[in-house]
């Protein structure tokens, strides 16, 4: 049937994409990085599973978390894991965090015309031991930042990080006086994602949190609300 402007109204077309929800975030310090993601996988207003990992440790110094469509997250992580092993076999050493970041960007752009429905964050320590976070869009736009959040809870988490890490809109503390310690960052990440779990229905169940520094990666897990 035609509208008053003369265009034909189309029936809703099948989409290959679905959003399984979930939140991810990462914060970088001077010599460490903290990366976390929840594990709830949703479809519409239902929970498909309370534990579906969105986190992948690529090397001892670099990890990735992704939100979006679980099928694409799973496949992207599989491909990334294989590529990391190929690199290590070819070059005799693990990939540097910068190399991983670039590789993720290329893998995503490779699918420019049928993208992975994934919103990724790569975090780790770079070759100098400095903490780094890289954030992406679905087709691989790459930016190195101090912190990032992605997923259904990102709009709840990002402003908190703006205020607590970048000290935006703060009148009570000066930038020169502030030092981002590991303990502060871990607590902040935990609180931020817990808060997201309070208000975002797609965030909850469990959180996988990981602290990366020059000594390696320390992984942990804790519970969120199950409602």
């Amino acid at each position: 049937m035609e509208t008053y402007l003369g265009e034909k109204q189309q029936a809703r077309q099948w989409s290959p994409y679905i959003n399984n929800g979930g939140s991810c975030l990462a914060v970088a310090g001077d010599d460490f990085a903290v990366i976390a993601s929840d594990t709830r996988m949703s479809l519409g207003y239902s929970i498909k599973t309370r534990y579906s990992t969105k986190y992948l440790k690529i090397t001892e110094k670099c990890s990735i978390v992704s939100s979006g469509m679980q099928a694409d997250i799973f496949t992207l992580h599989k491909v990334l894991k294989s590529r990391a092993q190929i690199y290590e076999q070819k070059h005799g050493k693990p990939m540097s965090t910068d190399a991983v970041a670039k590789l993720v960007s290329r893998l995503l752009y490779y699918r420019r015309f049928f993208p992975y429905y994934t919103f990724n964050i790569v975090a780790g320590v770079d070759e100098d031991g400095v903490g780094c976070v890289f954030s992406y869009d679905a087709i691989g736009t790459l930016e190195r930042v101090k912190y990032s959040a992605s997923g259904s809870g990102s709009s709840l988490i990002e402003p908190v990080l703006d205020n607590q890490v970048a000290l935006k809109n703060r009148n009570d503390i000066k930038k020169e006086e502030f030092k981002l310690t590991k303990e502060y960052a871990i607590d902040l990440v935990k609180d931020a994602i817990t808060s997201a779990g309070e208000r975002d229905i797609y965030t909850g169940d469990f959180v996988e949190i990981s602290v990366i520094d020059l000594n390696g990666t320390h992984e942990d897990k804790f519970e969120l609300r199950f409602d």
């Binding site: 599989k78 491909v79 294989s82 092993q85 190929i86 076999q89």
Partner: protein
């Protein structure tokens, strides 16, 4: 008796039913320096002697990691080994990507055997001139396989290949019955002792001995030179050869001094 008449091509049998080109390829394996492997119920170990062509060059690596649960030791043409290694790495990685599990050692060795056999029966190809000792841990079991240019592959409790390997093999034959129950340390010590049998005049040092292990709760790992040295020290202590080693070092220092004088 008929050798020279029937060895000019891989596709020619001798009257005794032998393919000489394949046997010549296996001779290439026998020319490489010793590589040996042995296994217990929980671990599998390879020990190799790494030659260096002269003092200026590095020692030829003979042990390579294929995947987290599998590795190889080679003897023969290193260039051919690289091709087979790439093949094995590809197969194991592909299996991990598609099925999410470790490719069983036996399966990759079978594929390798098929691949090797193809080169003995195709126009314009030659057999791979390298023998591999493949060690792996999967399905709660340790594995040790030998592959050869002929395309044959066998599973072993212990095996040695390369030059002077018979002496190592004799040692292994004497001791293999006690291997299954041994712990990792003792297993490696047996391996190093076996290598010593076939090392001839060459002194074993941390630079020319390669050791790798794999097993239950032990990912395939090539031991660092310092760890290798600790095993060598244990062997040498039991045989009281440390004094002789010191004498050799002194001789080398004197030689270096005389060289310096000549340059002046």
């Amino acid at each position: 008796m008929f050798r020279t008449q029937y060895d000019s091509d891989i596709s020619i049998y001798s009257p005794e039913g032998r393919l000489y080109q394949i046997e010549y390829a296996m001779q290439a394996v026998a020319q490489g320096s010793t590589a040996l492997g042995l296994k217990s119920k929980t671990h599998a170990v390879v020990v190799t002697l790494m030659r260096s062509s002269d003092e200026l060059s590095s020692h030829q690596r003979k042990i390579f990691k294929v995947d987290g649960h599998m590795g190889i030791a080679i003897s023969g043409l290193t260039a051919d080994a690289r091709v087979l290694l790439k093949f094995m790495r590809n197969e194991t990685l592909h299996h991990k990507f598609v099925y999410g599990s470790d490719l069983p050692t036996g399966e990759v060795v079978s594929s390798l055997a098929m691949k090797s056999q193809r080169n003995t029966q195709r126009w314009g190809r030659r057999p791979y001139g390298v023998g591999l000792l493949v060690i792996g841990y999967d399905g709660d079991k340790t594995h040790l396989y030998q592959t050869s240019p002929s395309g044959n592959c066998f599973s072993y409790y212990a095996q040695a290949i390369g030059s002077r390997s018979q002496s190592a093999r004799t040692y292994l034959e004497k001791n293999f019955k006690e291997f299954p129950e041994l712990g990792l340390e003792e297993l490696v010590l047996h391996g190093v002792k076996a290598l010593k049998e076939s090392s001839g005049k060459e002194t074993l040092t941390k630079l020319n001995v390669g050791i790798a292990v794999v097993g239950k709760e032990q990912k395939f790992e090539i031991l660092k030179p310092n760890k290798v040295q600790s095993y060598l020290d244990q062997i040498l202590q039991t045989e009281g050869e440390i004094e002789i080693e010191n004498e050799n070092e002194n001789e080398k220092d004197e030689e270096a001094e005389t060289l310096e004088l000549k340059l002046d």
